[in-house]
């Protein structure tokens, strides 16, 4: 090749290189531009989201607070001896307030469901009773000409599930059936319960002879605001129900023919309690009524910033439980009061001016680790619950407070700190277990269960102590699982929960975290034998 040709070739190659370099630079520039764009769009979305969240949060608080006062004061008013006309007005007032509260709850649920922030609050429940309760709530809404057939066989064991959310699903679907069915029949049936590995698969159907659902609506039936009834209802019920069933690992399917009727089939999963229910007596209701009267000796602090809510709670404690409560208007005052006085239990609002419930609890926990603090929250949403737990709160009650919720918490306190029956800490766990059994069985049966559980506990503790030195994770996992079940059956929920955490660590082969917690856990469980 001649020198001239070579030079030309070099020139050509240089030009290609230049063009490639410039293309490469353009590509890099494009990449950075895309990131810039992403950042800007993200900023805009963040702003929009922050506005939306602030709006929802503040609206929730603003609307719920007066509504809570309306509902609460209506309950108090009902206790004052009203004539028929007044009682009727009050009933209408109540039903409107309930509807508003339900609507507000639906709107909040939708917003939280969309962000995956609803957490299930699982507790030991009579599944059959729960379903029957849904039926009885809706029964009054069913037209007279419609036959309501309920087929819920008795379930001989407890299930661990979120009562409120399961009830929400069936009340929604049954209410829809009641609304649309003008003649014929509504059937509410527990179809089957299957044991699938460690879980129970529950299938329930709601079948009606209503007008049926048009094909074009069927496709969007489970989307928000896709109500089949354009005049009534929020259009959110089915969406929420469907999402809740999904959250429980299940689904809702619909089978409907226009003019013939509709069948909603709900499938959800829950855990089965190992404890079988025997000798179920009718005395339990009477016993709990008796208990209601014995709370006068308790020292209770209510921390709530809204005056009407405060007054209502004060009255509720007085009327229903004969408790004269102490009041703090905000977290700061509460901290000061807890420093000076000794309380058996504190009911703490979450959002308050000056110092909110979370911060107040953190401060209280620096000098008082023992006093139970119950969070009064508008909703048990994951982030609120987590934040409250991290701060050191022990429990939650969803607002508006109902007497039965309060009673449950007061009963727990009295069983731990009763008037002089148990003076040493060693017997507390045993007594808690006995009280738990006595809700459903006679004392002798309760004691026999405790005896059985003791054997199981000894066996599990021994196994755990054997597996620890060799870090046998499978053995530890199985033993924690076993001990969790026993503790749950004994009604010792908090300890059972701790066993569950340890079980998770064992499952993850995270020995370090087991090691950190095991000593305290075992010493707590062993208190049962002291």
């Amino acid at each position: 090749m001649k020198k001239k040709e070579l030079k030309l070739k070099v020139r050509e190659l240089e030009e290609t290189l230049e063009s490639l370099e410039s293309k490469y630079l353009d590509l890099e520039k494009d990449k950075l531009t895309v990131y810039n764009l992403l950042y800007r769009v993200n900023e805009e979305l963040d702003d929009a989201l922050a506005n939306k969240q602030t709006f929802i949060a503040s609206m929730s608080h603003e609307l719920r607070s007066p509504l809570t006062a309306v509902i609460g004061n209506s309950a108090l008013l009902a206790q004052t001896g009203l004539n028929q006309q007044q009682a009727r007005y009050l009933e209408q007032l109540n039903s409107s307030a309930d509807f508003l509260m339900a609507l507000l709850a639906d709107l909040l649920d939708v917003s939280k469901l969309k962000e995956s922030k609803i957490e299930l609050y699982v507790q030991e429940t009579h599944l059959d009773k729960l379903l029957l309760n849904c039926a009885s709530i809706v029964e009054s809404k069913i037209a007279k000409d419609v036959e309501f057939s309920v087929s819920i066989p008795s379930v001989p064991y407890y299930a661990f599930l979120d009562k409120k959310r399961v009830q929400q699903i069936f009340i929604n679907i049954l209410t829809n059936a009641a609304k649309f069915t003008k003649s014929g029949k509504i059937e509410f049936s527990l179809i089957e319960i299957n044991q699938v590995k460690e879980k129970l698969e529950v299938i329930v159907e709601v079948k009606d002879t209503g007008p049926g659902i048009a094909d074009e609506i069927k496709e969007t039936l489970f989307e928000p605001f896709a109500s089949t009834d354009v005049e009534e209802g929020t259009g959110l019920g089915l969406y929420i129900s469907h999402e809740l069933a999904t959250l429980m690992g299940g689904e809702i399917t619909v089978n409907s023919k226009e003019g013939e009727g509709t069948c909603f089939r709900v499938t959800f999963y829950c855990e089965k309690s190992a404890l079988k229910m025997r000798n179920l007596t009718q005395n339990s209701t009477n016993k709990s009524m008796e208990k209601q009267k014995n709370y006068g000796h308790l020292s209770v602090l209510i921390v709530e910033d809204i005056i009407v809510n405060r007054e209502f709670l004060k009255e509720m404690f007085k009327v229903f439980f004969s408790v004269e409560v102490d009041i703090a208007e905000n977290g700061k005052i509460a901290v000061e009061k807890v420093r000076k006085n000794s309380y058996d239990i504190i009911f703490m609002d979450m959002s308050m001016p000056v110092l909110d419930g979370v911060e107040a609890t953190k401060q209280i926990r620096t000098f008082s680790k023992e006093v139970p603090i119950v969070c009064m929250s508008a909703n048990v949403y994951r982030e609120d619950k987590h934040e409250a737990q991290m701060a050191g709160m022990n429990d939650f009650i969803e607002k508006p407070l109902e007497p039965k919720d309060i009673e449950g918490r007061l009963a727990q306190v009295t069983s731990v700190k009763p008037s002089g029956i148990f003076t040493n800490k060693e017997n507390v766990l045993r007594q808690l277990a006995l009280d738990h059994f006595k809700e459903h069985f006679d004392e002798a049966t309760g004691l026999s269960f405790i005896e059985m559980a003791e054997k199981g506990l000894v066996k599990s503790i021994k196994a755990i102590e054997e597996y620890l030195p060799t870090q046998n994770m499978k053995g530890l996992r199985d033993s924690f699982h076993a001990i969790k079940g026993i503790l749950a059956n004994l009604g010792l929920g908090e300890l059972a929960q701790k066993a569950g955490i340890l079980q998770d660590y064992a499952k993850d082969k995270d020995f370090e975290n087991i090691e950190k917690r095991i000593e305290l856990f075992l010493s707590k469980v062993k208190e049962f034998f002291n």
């Binding site: 490469y24 990449k31 950075l32 531009t33 990131y35 950042y39 995956s116 982030e383 993850d508």
Partner: protein, 376 residues
Amino acid sequence: MKHNLINTFSIEDLIKEIDYNIEKSFTPTLAFVYLSVEYDIKYLVRKLEKYTFIIVGSTTVGEIYANDTLGVHIEEKSITCMLTNLDQLAFKIKLEETKNNLFLECGKKIGKWVSKSFSNSGLLTITSGLNFNNESYINGLQPNIECFFGAVAGDDRHFKGTYVFSNNKIVENGVLALAIDRDKIDIVTARGFGWSGIGTQRIVTKSNENLVYSIDDKPALDFYKDYLNIKIEDMPNMGADYPIEVLLKNGQIVYRAAIKINEDGSLLFAGHVPEGSKVRISAPIGQLVVDEVKMSIEESMIDKKDYTADLVLVFPCAAHKALLGSFSIDEIEAVYKTTNNSPLIGFYAYGEIASSGESNAFHNETFVTVQLREKK
């Protein structure tokens, strides 16, 4: 302060240049030597034995230098050295190998040593070792020292082994600590970000130091899979490009790069991710990152009018280089200009260290700038 910048591609050339500087210019007291892990570090340290100046040495993911004579440069696989004659009495050096993974102990030991070195001490520290727990080390430092900064050594993104070295010693899992007398040397530090959280905030439901097991009660890996369809072989590079934004309980935001996926679906991060903290995925903010870094320096100099440093040290995260590519030079030029064209040396790192009050001092994805000036 006098200085001389050297950039070479062989150990022999480096030694020649140093000798030439000593003969013709000035006698150095302190030298920064940053180089690619591809060089024979043992040989280099032997060759440097003959000098009396203090050596601050580290392996890198790219070397950075700038001055009036040479201009602004980013190099790969080179040896970059800055010789200075800063007051010899203002510095003390210590290298510490960490044994039995006692990182917190190591931090406490160095912290005590630094605080005793001078009545008003600062610290430049560079750590080595891929399993070195920087956050625990810093937690150990924090009670004893208020002002500290530095970086985590790199190895050209091979993730096989990183090293720090000084006179006669190399450490492959430990720390280099240069105690600085703040009565003699004025220190101004800045930390610029460049990543931003995107998407929904979630809660770390189970973690232990660097290891995150679950986010929103789901395996931690699902979090990344949902967004990026990440695989084991994508780590640690992908994890560095898309770190998580962690909102700590004290309200501080830190970014943590995921460096390893474990078989059980848990993720290993370059720093601690405390249980209960709120996290979201993050992405870089494009060329705006340059503005962020520039602004961080401007803010650090707000109450320092007419301040010109004798020497500027920079420690950008290696992710900055990967993000900006050919435009990385824009970032370094902006820093050089903002620090009034003071002589500059630094390297791309696997992690950055910069104290700021009580808040967390270990970072990923940031750009740390340190200006040093002799007090008159």
